[in-house]
């Protein structure tokens, strides 16, 4: 018994299926996991080059994926991001096959060459709004991997906000996890309060879309189509305004002070905002609150508005501001609990990592302060919001800590949705 417990601690492995990236690795990775994009490519196996020179692969994932890309026209049908909304439809077989391949890839990178190795104790993390069938499909995939590759001895699945709370040893809190595709607001009182979760159909991808429009207006229309470039520009120039109106006014009056130049490393390409430096503030504001009238002109010109969408049983709200989303979520919890929840709001996910510029701190702020200001607008004070340490990796960190702590003999229970599902002895 003790030996099995020791074994589990040695071979605990976390995997966080984010909307944009998969973060994975054993506990020995320390604070930074391995990362690969959450996507897969289905090559055209009829290609003569394929037939002549390679053993055809059905699906390509991981670091080498760009080497297999074929024509640009095919990308939309062959390059698939299975979890863009955090949820995979039950019968989306292509997406499930990619998840299986990504899981195999992640586990094989760290498969020890040790004869004593009998598979990892895998802790996976899914969006809090993932329906039960996603858990079932994932366990089926893990069972196949265990049989074929021998890399999984037992597995468990936890919701991403719970993993964040575990990583921060917070038992009563609200976790706001914001990734590329969406944002989840999840109150936690020992365990996620499922019927109080509010899902928002807005994430880093929306800020990219707005950055792309800004680049087009600046005359960089050709570059605005390349997602990785747009993302780099967003991360370099975007600012969260304390108050959008005041920030825009100040930046229009003194554009030199707010101006920024961005040079793409390793290229001759550089962009400069000049008199349009005020647009830096739009990028940050759009994430937190897209309801300001300034965004209307972008919608009118064709930028799609974040819509309310139903995925599975969950409605993802498009235009709700983050303050209102937290408010709505907390108010679905018992009244006595509510003040405790406001006192610990944990912000997690890459979408909350924003640059701060010391000289502009009068106008630009960080994500926790913005959340406090939005809640103040709803008359909620006594709020303590903080950033998760290493917000991109906190879900993965929570996974490995959870795996380390949950006893090896605690079996999976579908009612409680916790415990280990065992595949190999």
């Amino acid at each position: 018994m003790m030996e099995r417990e020791e074994y589990k601690r040695l071979y605990t492995f976390g995997i966080d299926y984010g909307t944009s990236d998969v973060k994975f690795g054993p506990i020995t990775c320390g604070e930074v996991p391995q990362i690969t994009e959450n996507r897969g490519y289905l090559p055209d196996k009829e290609s003569i080059m394929y037939k002549a020179f390679e053993v055809p692969r059905d699906i390509v994932v991981g670091r080498d994926l760009p080497l297999y890309l074929q024509s640009s026209e095919d990308l939309s049908s062959r390059l698939i991001y299975p979890m863009r909304n955090g949820v995979i439809e039950k019968d989306d077989e292509k997406a499930w096959r990619i998840v299986e391949e990504l899981s195999r890839y992640a586990l094989n990178i760290f498969k020890p060459a040790d004869e004593a190795f009998k598979g990892f104790h895998l802790v996976a993390s899914l969006s809090s709004i993932s329906p039960r069938y996603m858990y079932e499909r994932l366990f089926q995939i893990y069972e196949r991997i265990a049989e074929e590759d021998g890399t999984i001895r037992a597995a468990t699945i936890i919701p991403q906000p719970l993993a964040v709370a575990i990583a921060h040893k917070a038992t009563t809190c609200v976790v706001v996890e914001s990734g590329h595709g969406n944002t989840q607001v999840c109150p936690i009182s020992r365990y996620p309060i499922r019927n109080a979760i509010v899902a928002v159909n807005r994430g880093g991808g929306d800020a990219n879309a707005l950055t792309s429009e800004i680049l087009k207006d600046l005359g960089y229309g050709d570059l605005a189509r390349q997602e990785s470039f747009v993302r780099a520009v967003k991360e370099h120039i975007g600012l969260i305004p304390v108050d959008l109106d005041k920030a825009v006014e100040a930046a229009k009056e003194d554009s030199k002070r707010f101006n920024i130049r961005f040079k793409v490393p390793g290229t001759r390409i550089s962009i400069e905002l000049g008199e349009n430096a005020w647009t830096r503030f739009l990028i940050g504001e759009y994430i937190f609150n897209p309801n300001h009238e300034v965004f209307q002109s972008y919608f009118t010109r064709g930028m799609s508005k974040p819509k309310d969408v139903r995925i599975g049983n969950t409605v993802f709200r498009g235009m709700i501001d983050f303050g209102e989303a937290i408010l709505e979520s907390v108010e679905r919890c018992p009244i006595e609990l509510q003040p405790h929840l406001y006192r610990q709001i944990l912000l997690s996910g890459g979408n909350f990592s924003w640059r701060q510029v010391e000289e502009l701190k009068e106008y630009a702020t960080d994500a926790p302060t913005k959340i406090r200001l939005l809640l103040k607008g709803w008359d909620i004070t006594n709020v303590k919001a903080s950033m998760a340490e290493a917000p991109q990796y906190s879900v993965w960190r929570g996974c490995v800590i959870y795996g380390y702590a949950v006893p090896e003999d605690y079996e999976w229970n579908w009612e409680r949705m916790e415990g280990w599902k065992k595949f190999l002895e």
Binding site: M2, E5, R9, G25, P26, I27, T28, C29, G30, E31, V32, Q34, I109, F110, K111, P112, A113, D114, H168, K169, E389, I401, Y404, A405
Partner: protein
């Protein structure tokens, strides 16, 4: 770019920071909080800066209790340290060895400067050139006074060290210095 574990600073290991675990068993004495004892021992040599996010925070590292298992006559502690400089790991191991005969230290080193071929050579493992170079492998390092096992993951550019240490063993910082000299690319 993250500063921790940047293996380029090959001769300046004191500047690197590590995350890992430390495990040891100690006599089960009622009313004695082993973690507090450990923290007190550390505080004799390092300024204690209080608790942050569940971690006991010191000048050159942080430590927390991951798990505690009560056995019949002893208790087994699983600690995690992070943002730890080698000096802090030395002190942590020293503090643990005041309570136990032996402790198990585990941590990783990550970076493109790791020379996996050299690691194989150091350990006496023969590279016949036939197998896949990026395949994971395990080696035992021939270091006097310490049992150090290394799991190598070339695809992840990572090494995981598992060292079984006692009072006579080399200090963790000494193990690191030896390892860095031998297996980092020049």
């Amino acid at each position: 770019m993250k500063k921790t574990r940047n293996t380029r600073n090959r001769d300046k290991i004191g500047y690197l920071k590590y995350t890992g675990t430390l495990t040891f068993s100690s006599e089960n004495r009622s009313r004695v909080n082993l973690v507090h004892d450990l923290v007190r021992s550390l505080a004799e040599y390092q300024r204690y800066k209080g608790r942050r996010d569940g971690y006991y925070s010191f000048t050159s590292g942080q430590v927390t209790l991951l798990n505690e298992v009560q056995l019949d006559d002893e208790v087994k502690l699983y600690l995690e340290f992070k943002s730890a400089r080698p000096r802090f790991i030395d002190l942590l191991v020293e503090a643990a060895l005041k309570q136990a005969e032996e402790c198990i230290l585990a941590f990783s080193i990550k970076g493109d400067s790791i020379n996996f071929k050299a690691l194989k050579e150091v350990s006496g493992l023969v590279d016949d050139g036939v197998g896949d170079e990026s395949e994971n492998f395990n080696v035992a390092l021939p270091l006097e006074g310490a049992s150090v096992k290394v799991a190598a993951y070339p695809k992840a550019s990572m090494l995981s060290l598992l060292a079984s240490l006692n009072r006579e063993s080399l200090k963790p910082s000494e193990i690191l210095r030896i390892l860095f000299r031998k297996v980092l690319k020049k």
